[in-house]
């Protein structure tokens, strides 16, 4: 039923645009005219949306691509800016740092959240609801407020830093928040609630019959987890992993609040090229932005692939 009406909508449009020209002699074509004008009125409601999308989403993206392709020195179209980005140590380092921080924080995040989701799944509804509540609340704790909280906690005169000095715990006393390792701790922090919230629904797809069947077939708990549960959850796990990776890749506020522009990280470098504390360099900034866009698009494609597989798997079950 739905398919049919979909087909009809499709048809009427192609007719409105092509029909009269294709078969001018057709008996019905003359009487189609009132329909045709009505259809156009129908489309009018789409125009405001289209304008905003073009003006504030598609054109800005196009502008960045254009920026990246117009050479900074030569002023001609080409890959000059990309060559520069990939040969300048600062930009190389930015890309490497960004990918590294994102990858490590995503992997640590997924391990912790897998365990958390697993334990939450085994808990009573009361415990699970309370834990989910904490996750929901703390998933909002990110960006500048999060950076500030960590400064109070682990900054130069942070509470834990002082306690570390007092009690002689070198890890806390010598911890430097304003470096790559510091950022790593922050990034891992904001990955955990997000990842757990994404993984929890996947766990509810696990049937208790699987465990019963596995037990009857004399599987050990190890077999159960590694041969049944994890393979079944794999699409969700990998999909979540790619979400975490892109989430960290694009994170700006947290890093900016901690290290300002004094660290080689893609979002920070890109923004500084356009915001011009020093000078505006849209060519290099555009090229860096395109690199970031490509990384993000790859993540989205990976995630789509796994989400589709995950949902397919569920249908089969």
């Amino acid at each position: 039923m739905a398919d049919m009406s979909q087909a009809s909508a499709t048809l009427t449009v192609s007719e409105a645009t092509l029909g009269a020209a294709r078969e001018p002699a057709r008996a019905a074509s003359a009487s189609k005219k009132p329909h045709k004008s009505k259809k156009w009125i129908g489309y009018a409601a789409f125009i405001p949306f289209l304008l905003v999308i073009i003006g504030y989403e598609l054109l800005p993206l196009g502008q960045l691509v254009l920026d990246s392709l117009v050479g900074k020195e030569s002023g001609t179209l080409g890959l000059e800016n990309f060559v520069k980005v990939f040969t300048t140590p600062l930009y190389q380092q930015s890309i490497i740092n960004s990918v590294w921080i994102s990858a490590v924080s995503a992997i640590v995040g997924i391990i912790v959240s897998f365990l958390a989701a697993r334990f939450a799944y085994e808990s009573s509804p009361r415990v699970r609801n309370a834990f989910t509540m904490v996750l929901n609340m703390m998933s909002n704790f990110s960006g500048v407020p999060l950076a500030f909280a960590f400064m109070i906690l682990m900054g130069n005169s942070g509470v834990l830093t002082i306690l570390g000095e007092r009690w002689g715990i070198p890890f806390l006393a010598d911890f430097d928040l304003y470096t790559g390792e510091g950022l790593m701790v922050l990034y891992i922090y904001f990955q955990i609630p997000l990842a757990t919230l994404l993984l929890l629904p996947a766990f509810s797809g696990i049937r208790k019959e699987w465990r019963e069947a596995a037990t009857i077939l004399q599987a050990t708990p190890f077999d159960y987890w590694f041969r049944i549960v994890i393979p079944n959850l794999m699409p969700s796990i990998l999909g979540t992993l790619s979400v975490l990776f892109s989430n960290a890749l694009a994170a700006y506020a947290t890093a900016f609040a901690v290290v300002m522009n004094n660290y080689a990280l893609l979002p920070l470098q890109i923004t500084s090229k356009f915001k011009g504390d020093v000078q505006i360099d849209t060519a290099t900034g555009g090229a860096l932005a395109v690199v970031l866009i490509i990384l993000m698009v790859v993540c989205t494609l990976v995630n789509n692939y796994f989400t589709k597989r995950a949902s397919k798997g569920r249908e089969v079950i």
Partner: protein, 343 residues
């Protein structure tokens, strides 16, 4: 001239022809069933009449007026959909009143008409209920009330009972039939269920692959299928190739035909019948017997053919597997119908 006329109606979705030159008329006050398997185009024709779908070619005339290009909202046709078409944010009462509001009927009149329509579908007491709190059958009753309250010139029903369980279905079938007759409301009913079509209709239009295969009263369609498709879709005809039939009975059949025999027309007995005028008598062996409600179905092997034979389920006179029996096939119930590629 009929009340509703379909004149050479063609509907294509892209390259796919869903309706292929449909021509027929519907008389005022009749209940006509469009019967056929899913995907045969019967729903599409209904939607063309409703105006929700445009036709590719041809005209549709309603009460002498060409409505082919009139938008759905101006045709004054009532329609009951398969399910879930009630507006969830409105009560039963508000749903029923919706069409009257659209017509700007004065409020006092609306109240009376709504109450009448709700009473007619036997939903009195549920006026203030929201659709979500109604059963499937009640929802369809409300939908029915909503579409008759505006006094439409035609009532269209697009498989309205397909999602409702068997018992309630029977009750609703007769309610729809009664409303059709009480109001003299011309109705077109789409279904893929041949029993439903038999029970309800004045006329059945049997659809197959976008064309009308056969039209007629339920009795005609049931007893005189015109094609292999009609024979297989209506009832559960035994169908024998011409050669097989000749071998079994010794009778000659014109080439290019098959012979269709309804299972309940075949007699089955232990002794050879005394006189065999007007009937073919053949010997066979009972292969199987299955009770089907009040009917017992035997499968009898006779020569190269296997025939299904239905008899009323009585506890005496039963045959066992392997019994030798005589089958009596009345000649006028052995219908030679043209062979078709489909079916």
């Amino acid at each position: 001239m009929a009340y509703i006329e379909f004149k050479g109606v063609v509907k294509r979705f892209g390259d796919n022809t869903v309706l292929d030159h449909i021509d027929f008329g519907v008389e005022k006050g009749d209940l006509v069933t469009l019967l056929g398997p899913s995907g045969c185009g019967k729903s599409t024709l209904l939607r063309c009449l409703s105006g929700l779908e445009s036709v590719t070619e041809g005209r549709i005339v309603l009460d002498g007026r060409d409505i082919t290009d009139v938008p759905a909202s101006k045709r004054n046709i009532g329609m009951v959909f398969q399910q879930y078409s009630l507006f969830p944010n409105m009560t039963v009462e508000q749903n029923v009143a919706f069409g009257l509001r659209m017509k700007k009927v004065p409020a006092e009149k609306i109240q009376q008409k709504v109450a009448d329509a709700i009473a007619m579908v036997e939903l009195t007491g549920k006026e203030k209920a929201y659709p979500a709190s109604l059963s499937g059958g009640q929802q369809q009753r409300a939908a029915l009330a909503r579409s008759i309250v505006t006094e439409p010139s035609v009532l269209l029903l697009d498989e309205p009972l397909s999602a409702i369980d068997a018992k309630l279905r029977k009750a609703l079938q007769s309610r729809i039939r009664e409303i059709n007759q009480e109001l003299g409301l011309t109705s077109i009913f789409v279904t893929h269920d041949q029993d439903e079509a038999m029970v309800m209709s004045d006329v059945i239009q049997l659809f197959h692959d976008g064309r009308i295969e056969q039209a007629g009263s339920p009795v005609d369609v049931y007893t005189k299928p015109v094609s292999e498709f009609a024979a297989s879709f209506i009832g559960s005809y035994n169908q024998l190739d011409a050669a097989v039939f000749s071998e079994v009975t010794g009778a000659m059949v014109p080439a290019g035909h098959v012979v269709a025999i309804r299972p309940e027309t075949i007699g089955i007995q232990k002794e050879a019948p005394a006189h065999t005028d007007g009937a073919y008598v053949v010997r066979g062996t009972v292969q199987d017997s299955t009770p089907r409600g009040n009917v017992l179905r035997y499968t009898v092997k006779t020569g190269p053919a296997c025939l299904r034979v239905d008899v009323l389920f009585r506890s005496f006179h039963m045959f066992d597997k392997g019994d030798e029996v005589y089958l009596v096939l009345p000649e006028h119930d052995c219908l030679a119908i043209p062979e078709s590629n489909a079916a």
